[in-house]
Structure formats: structure tokens, C-alpha cells
Amino acid sequence: MWSNLPLFPEQASTHAARVDELYAFLVGVSVFFASLIFLLLLYFAIKYRRRSEDEQPHPVYGSIPLEVTWMAIPFVLVMIMFLWGASLYIALASPPADALEIHVVGKQWMWYFQHPEGQREINELHVPVGRPVKLTMVSQDVIHDLYVPAFRIKMDVVPPKYTTTWFEATKTGTFQLFCIEYCGVAHAGMVGRVVVMKPTEYERWLQLGTPEEAPVVAGARLFQSLGCSGCHAANAAVRAPLLAGIYGKPVPLATGQVIIADDSYIRDSILLPQRHIVAGYHPVMPPYQGRVSEEEILQLIAYIKSLGGEPLGRGMTQR
């Protein structure tokens, strides 16, 4: 085979291998049925070709048993395809709890990645091999879509909310990354690469990179400068929920519902605070829509996440 004529994509994640098995099954079924139809057509067309202009073959009306058969067999096959595809899809929607969490912001026309330790990258993502990586993604403008063919993963990056996907790379190397939801003039240029490294090299890379300011630090600074601390600090004059230790915990809402304080919840609460009012508080916080960038929100989330420890008196986890 020509070296510049690849016919099959590289298989570089645990998920990729599983998708390819299903793909092989689909190809098998397709080749079988396509051949069956082609051969039958060819055979009938030749065997029963018209031999004289006045030929009048006897009519055949059809056959109920045959109809039932060729409904039943495809039905069984497509149900296998459905269940198989769905189970892999559910797995893709359920990242392991210990996954390395990386935040992604898509904007016209670049990818911004932020590692938990503070490294930030543009259009390039360094990850360790053999460890699940969860991507939490959001768009600053239009819908984008992060696609890494070698991992067989793809997820839209949508402006109003966080979307997630995950992968576990199985080999080191460099893999292409594309924006695959049309996003404007330079859509084809919104590409990047994923660099999968050995864990030790990844550690070294983390050291090497010069994090200007860790997200937690930047978040803490923003928490002050945006005025969040004026209400959400323990000694604040305005009564607002304290944020220490809330990350990942259930929060009771004024509507009686309970919501988990995850990334999306915190982002919503910053941008559109009146959407989810915590039980026992008044909707007084102004919306920060348009006043903070997606990167800044990620830094704030990192900061809030870092506020571990037991919630204090005015906390919102329990009443």
C-alpha cells in the first residue's frame, strides 16, 4: 500500500478499538447484503433476460413467508447494531471518576486548553498515555466540535453550556485534532494536535511549561476583582451562599429541587444567577453574562473547587 494512501485511521485509544469492532461488524453485514442483492440482480437479469419481444411470463404475486423473513432477519441485525452502538455511546458519556480533567474553550478559530496544574495551551494538547482524560468544553461564540479521529471521539462545543467527552490514549505520538462543526471562514484552519506522552515525560512537560499563573491563583484574583468576595466571603455584609466545599456536593434549591454543584452549575450561577436560586436566599446577584470570558469562568471554577474543607455556618450544603 502507498504510504501516502492511508485507508484506515490510526487506533490510539481504548474507545477506538471498541468502535472499530462494531465498525467491522457493520461492514461485514453490509458486504454480505450488498453482495447478495448484486448477485441476485445479476443472476436474475441474465437468467430471465428477454428472449423474444412477445414473451409474457407468468405473474408471481409475492409471498408472505418471504416478506416476513426479510423483515425479521434485518430486524434482529439492526437491533444488535443498536444495542452495541448504544452501549459504547453510554460508555463515552460516562467518564471514569479518576480522569484527568482538562478544560477546553473553542472560539473562532482556535482551541484553548487548560490543565489542572495551570498549563495553558493553544491548538495543542499534551496528555499522558494510559490515563483517562476528561475534556470539559465550552464555546465562546458559535458551535464548534472537537474531533480526534485516532480516538474516535467527537463532541460539539456549544456556547451556553459545558459539554464533556473523554478518552484514554493507548499509544504515544501525535494525533490530529479538528473542529468538525462548521464555524465560519477559517473553519478548516481550526485544527490542532494531541500529543500523547509517557507519564514521566508528561510530568516533565508539566514542569517545563511555565504556567504564568495557575488557574486557582488567577481565579482567586478574579474572585476579588469581580467583587464576588463582597458577598460570598464569610465576613461579607450581604448574605450570600458561602462557597467553601460546595464543589461536587448537592445543593437544595428554592424550587425544592436538588442540584449537584458541578462545573455547569457554577458557570450558570455566575452567568445567569437567577436560574437556580439556593433555598433560603434571595435572587439578588447580578448576571455576569458578557462580563467574564470563558477562560475566566474556568479560573473561577478552579478557585471555587480549591476551596475544600467543611462548609462553614452559612454554607449551602445542609440546613
Partner: protein, 214 residues
């Protein structure tokens, strides 16, 4: 869509076939219309599910008195329309014209009241877009509510304007004696259209004005 001759159109065998075709055609068109408004009903349902409080908030800013009066006016116009069809069936020419005129009049009353309501919203800066001003909670989502309010009622009002135009043509045709007990299909199927517009309002009224009123 329909012929105004003494004989059925050439493609039909008789008036009955022609009437059946026209009536079926209009019902099929109304099915289309249901789905056309349906997109808006879906949008409304989705956002109301996501932002129930904001939609309640927004609904409080609508004028329930004017809305109720308008509902009654529109139901009245449906009655006069039905009576116009009845008059056509029994062949009372002047009554057709009279009831059609009354239907148009009630339609215009409805549109006038709607205009007054729109005017209030302009004064209160509740028209979505750059000039939307709202100080209460959930301001962005209240704006969503008003987007739906204006688009849904606006599209409904547009249908009424078209309907009034159709009534005017019908009244003119009726006045010239084009309809008879054997042939009055246009009156009948235009009536279907007018009643449909009424039915849309019957749903818009509670969805926009009433839900979350208490």
C-alpha cells in the same frame, strides 16, 4: 382554489366532488398551519420548562383584561362566521354579506385591541431587542418570554389580517350573487380558515396570559 361558475370546474365530475376536494384541501392546509404554529409551541414549551419562574414573571406583565375581552371578541367573530356560512347554505344573500361584514368588524376590533396592548409594551420597554429594559429578576429569560409573546401573537395577527382580506373578497362576491345553496364552497372553506385562527388564539390566551397568574 375554487371556481365561481354555474358548472363545476372541468377536472371535476360534479359540484359534490368539487366541494369534497376543496374542503379536504383546506383541512390539509390547516394541518400544515398547525405544524407552522407548532414550532412556536415547541419553543414555548422548551423554554417554559427551562425557565418556569421567568415565564410566570413575564406573563404578569400582560394585560389580562384586554386579553379576555379579545378572546370574547374572537369567539364572537367565529359565531358570525358560522352564521355567514349558514346563510350561504340557505341562500340568503344579504345575510351572507351582513355576517361577513360583522366578522370583519370583530376582527378589526381584535386587531385594534392588540395594537393597544402592543403600544403598552412599547411604552414599558418590554419589546425584545436592543431597547428591552427590565429591572426585575430573570431579565434575560423574561426577554425570551416576550420574544415568544410577540412572535406568537404577531403571527396570529398576520393570519387575521389575511383572513379579513379573504372576507372582503367573499363579501364582494356574495354581494354580486356568486353563491347559491348549491355552490358556496369558498364561503365554507374560508370559514374553516377563520375558525382555525380562533382555535390558535384559544390556546395562545391561556399559555401567554393565564399560566402563572395566581
Amino acid at each position: 382554489m375554487s371556481e365561481t361558475r354555474a358548472a363545476p370546474a372541468h377536472q371535476f365530475d360534479d359540484f359534490e366532488q368539487q366541494y369534497e376536494a376543496a374542503s379536504l384541501g383546506m383541512w390539509a392546509f390547516l394541518a400544515t398551519e398547525i405544524l407552522f404554529f407548532g414550532g412556536l409551541f415547541l419553543g414555548y414549551t422548551v423554554y417554559r420548562t427551562l425557565y418556569p419562574a421567568a415565564f410566570t414573571e413575564g406573563s404578569h406583565h400582560l394585560d389580562i383584561v384586554l386579553g379576555s375581552i379579545n378572546t370574547a371578541v374572537l369567539i364572537g367573530s367565529s359565531l358570525t362566521m358560522a352564521l355567514a356560512v349558514h346563510s350561504a347554505q340557505v341562500g340568503r344573500r344579504q345575510a351572507i354579506v351582513g355576517f361577513l361584514a360583522l366578522t370583519m368588524l370583530l376582527g378589526l376590533v381584535f386587531l385594534s385591541i392588540k395594537t393597544v396592548e402592543y403600544g403598552h409594551k412599547f411604552d414599558e420597554a418590554l419589546v425584545p431587542g436592543a431597547h428591552f429594559v427590565y429591572d426585575g429578576p430573570f431579565a434575560p429569560q423574561v426577554q425570551l418570554f416576550f420574544s415568544f409573546y410577540f412572535i406568537m401573537t404577531g403571527l396570529h395577527a398576520l393570519h387575521m389580517v389575511v383572513g379579513i382580506g379573504i372576507m372582503a373578497v367573499l363579501a364582494w362576491l356574495a354581494w354580486r350573487g356568486k353563491f347559491s345553496p348549491t355552490y358556496h364552497t369558498p364561503v365554507e372553506i374560508s370559514g374553516l380558515y377563520w375558525h382555525f385562527v380562533d382555535v390558535v388564539w384559544i390556546f395562545l390566551f391561556p399559555l401567554l396570559y393565564l399560566l402563572g397568574r395566581h
